[in-house]
């Protein structure tokens, strides 16, 4: 009994010593790793979730493909080939949806992370944990990226089986590089959303609004050429737009053009930097704002 009490005392002293020495930091990678593992452990308890997220997008993608078939006939149309530069709209759309899964996750999962914690009743304990909030978000982003990668590949595999689409496997390395940069850029984008959701609370509407708007301007089902010029230009401010275009080009044609590739990488790097500065800044501001207002736990 006495030994247990002494051990508890030592633990308690260690904790208070840690808290005394604690200095706020911008980023705590160890906390991010722990948070990522926590989310992955929860995800592993519901393996059907990952599977279902690989299959449900087929139900969303299919209406667009069927509409294209009904309007233009099976496979392609002269007008589509002319404006997009690709002959087959099926192959064109499937790769678009594959990449879009990451955009969707950055909006619905990472952006809404604190809201889901609030619903689970774990938001307050997280906020009193002496780690920077941004490291919690980075941890959530890592775990969501891993889950999304699994479900995106299930989607691609199912589409290959159902629609017979195929892509150039030789381009896998450049595709991975572009994907990594896009995902990094999207993290910044989702931090900004997380900040907005901390302020506005009601995530369903804000997230729906942003999600639908981003989907509309992204070249997922159609090339940017069908959008009005101003909107098409604005679409490039979303980190995924350039990535979708480059990945599609590489995966469908299988042709690697070093100069164009490097230009895209430079653009993506610029966007990553821009969105991280904007995202972290917006989140920090929202954090301060909600703390001042005392509205962190409010619905």
């Amino acid at each position: 009994m006495a030994a247990t009490a002494a051990q508890r005392m030592t633990e308690s002293e260690t904790r208070s010593e840690y808290l005394d020495k604690f200095k706020p930091r911008l980023m705590d990678w160890s906390a991010a790793r722990v948070f990522m593992m926590k989310n992955l452990v929860i995800a592993l308890r519901y393996p059907t979730n990952v599977l279902i997220w690989g299959l449900i997008p087929i139900l969303w993608l299919a209406p667009y493909l069927l509409m294209m078939t009904a309007v233009a006939g099976p496979g392609t149309s002269e007008h589509f080939a002319e404006i997009s530069g690709f002959n087959d709209f099926l192959t064109f759309a499937v790769i678009g949806w594959f990449v879009y899964r990451y955009i969707d996750t950055s909006i619905w999962s990472v952006g809404n992370n604190f809201r889901w914690e609030q619903f689970s009743g774990t938001l307050e304990p997280l906020f009193v944990t002496p780690v920077p909030w941004i490291s919690i978000l980075v941890g959530a982003a890592f775990s969501d990226t891993i889950q999304t990668t699994v479900s995106a590949f299930i989607l691609l595999g199912m589409c290959t089986l159902l629609f017979g689409v195929s892509y150039a496997a030789t381009m896998i390395l450049p595709v991975i590089i572009v994907m990594l940069l896009m995902v990094l850029g999207l993290y910044g984008f989702s931090f900004m959303l997380a900040g907005m959701i901390l302020v506005f609370k009601d995530p369903s509407v804000l997230t729906e609004l942003i999600s639908t708007a981003v989907f509309t301007v992204s070249p997922v089902n159609y090339p940017l050429q069908v959008l009005p010029t101003g909107v098409a230009f604005a679409a490039f401010l979303i980190p995924s737009t350039t990535a979708i275009i480059v990945i599609r080009e590489l995966a469908i044609t299988g042709i690697f053009q070093p100069l164009a590739f490097l230009q895209s990488i430079a653009l993506l790097l610029g966007l990553v930097l821009f969105f991280w500065v904007l995202g972290v800044g917006a989140f920090k501001y929202a954090e301060k704002w909600t703390k001042t207002k005392g509205s962190i736990g409010g619905f």
Binding site: T48, N49, I52, I56, L59, W60, A62, P63, Y64, L66, M67, M68, T69, A70, V71, A72, G73, S77, H79, F80, I83, S84, F89, F119, F200, D202, V205, L206, E208, L209, T212, A213, F215, T216, N221, Y222, P223, Q225, V226, L227
Partner: protein
């Protein structure tokens, strides 16, 4: 308030019964949901722009492959070359269906999340009224969305609507709601049993939408899916709604569509109601109504 007066109110509450009392309860629930929605300014903004935003991607997809607002290929499949009007009217109706499937199918779960399920379940009204009340709200919410989307489409995309078909198309909406309520009752059963029923709602809702002639005629589906399509009330609802709005009273094949829809309504609402009644009783007997 005196004790006697309070007891009098309680007695009155407990004695209330009959369709009129249930309708009043359903109306109160619909108004309550409106008040909740309107207390979030972003909700109001989204409500206004969403019908527009949902339709745009379909319009862009069509433009990307057709290049013009008409298509000869579409004409051979759908009976009209004007794919823009076809898709706009179909999408407007799908906004109503989505609102009903999601809003009503998830009623119990949503009330549970906000901590008001137990309070509602101890209110002296039938449990099915809770679902009907939400349906009433979503009918109004989705109905306004249909009007907004059709107005946008007429003003900005050159969609033409036959004025003679407006009133009959409203009658079709009424018929459609009966059939969809049957589907919603079945969805509610899944939510009551599986709790995290969003997955099932998403799969059932998206599957019904996929086989319905919303943005394309069912002729583009494979034969098995075409069989599924003709047994769904949503298919006949969309078809009749659009035919009235495009061709007026003399819409081709309209009588057949209405008869089939009425038959499917009877089947779906009967099966849905029985399922809901049994599931509700089972979940209560297990004491699992408010479990997460």
């Amino acid at each position: 308030m005196t004790t006697a007066k309070t007891e009098g109110i309680f007695e009155k509450m407990m004695e209330r019964e009959g369709p009129r009392a249930e309708f009043r309860a359903a109306t109160a629930l619909a108004i309550k949901t409106w008040k909740v929605e309107l207390s979030y300014p972003l909700s109001v903004l989204y409500f206004i722009v969403s019908p527009f935003l949902w339709f745009i991607p379909y319009l862009l997809v069509g433009s990307a492959v057709a290049g013009t607002p008409t298509s000869a290929v579409f004409g051979t499949l759908a009976g009209t070359t004007d794919w823009v009007s076809y898709v706009a009217i179909g999408n407007a109706f799908s906004a109503l269906a989505l609102s009903i499937f999601w809003g009503t199918g998830n009623t119990f779960r949503r009330e549970q999340n906000t901590g008001t399920l137990e309070t509602l379940l101890t209110t002296p009204m039938k449990n099915a009224t809770l679902v009907w009340g939400q349906m009433l709200h979503n009918m109004q919410h989705g109905g306004l969305g249909v009007i907004l989307q059709l107005t946008f489409s007429v003003l900005f995309f050159g969609v033409t609507i036959n004025a003679w078909g407006i009133l009959p198309s409203l009658a079709i909406v009424a018929l459609a709601i009966v059939g969809m309520q049957g589907v919603v009752f079945a969805m509610t059963c899944v939510v009551l049993l599986a709790k995290q029923g969003w997955m099932i709602i998403e799969v059932i809702g998206s599957s019904l939408m996929l086989v319905a002639p919303i943005s394309y005629p069912i002729a583009v589906l494979n034969p098995i899916l075409q069989y599924v399509a003709v047994s769904s009330p949503l298919t006949w609802s969309v078809e009749s709604f659009r035919n009235f709005l495009m061709y007026g009273l003399m819409a081709p094949g309209i009588l057949e569509s209405i008869v089939v829809l009425a038959i499917l309504d009877v089947i779906f609402i009967s099966v849905g109601s029985v399922l809901f009644k049994h599931t509700d009783r089972y979940v209560r007997s297990q004491g699992a109504l408010s479990e997460f």
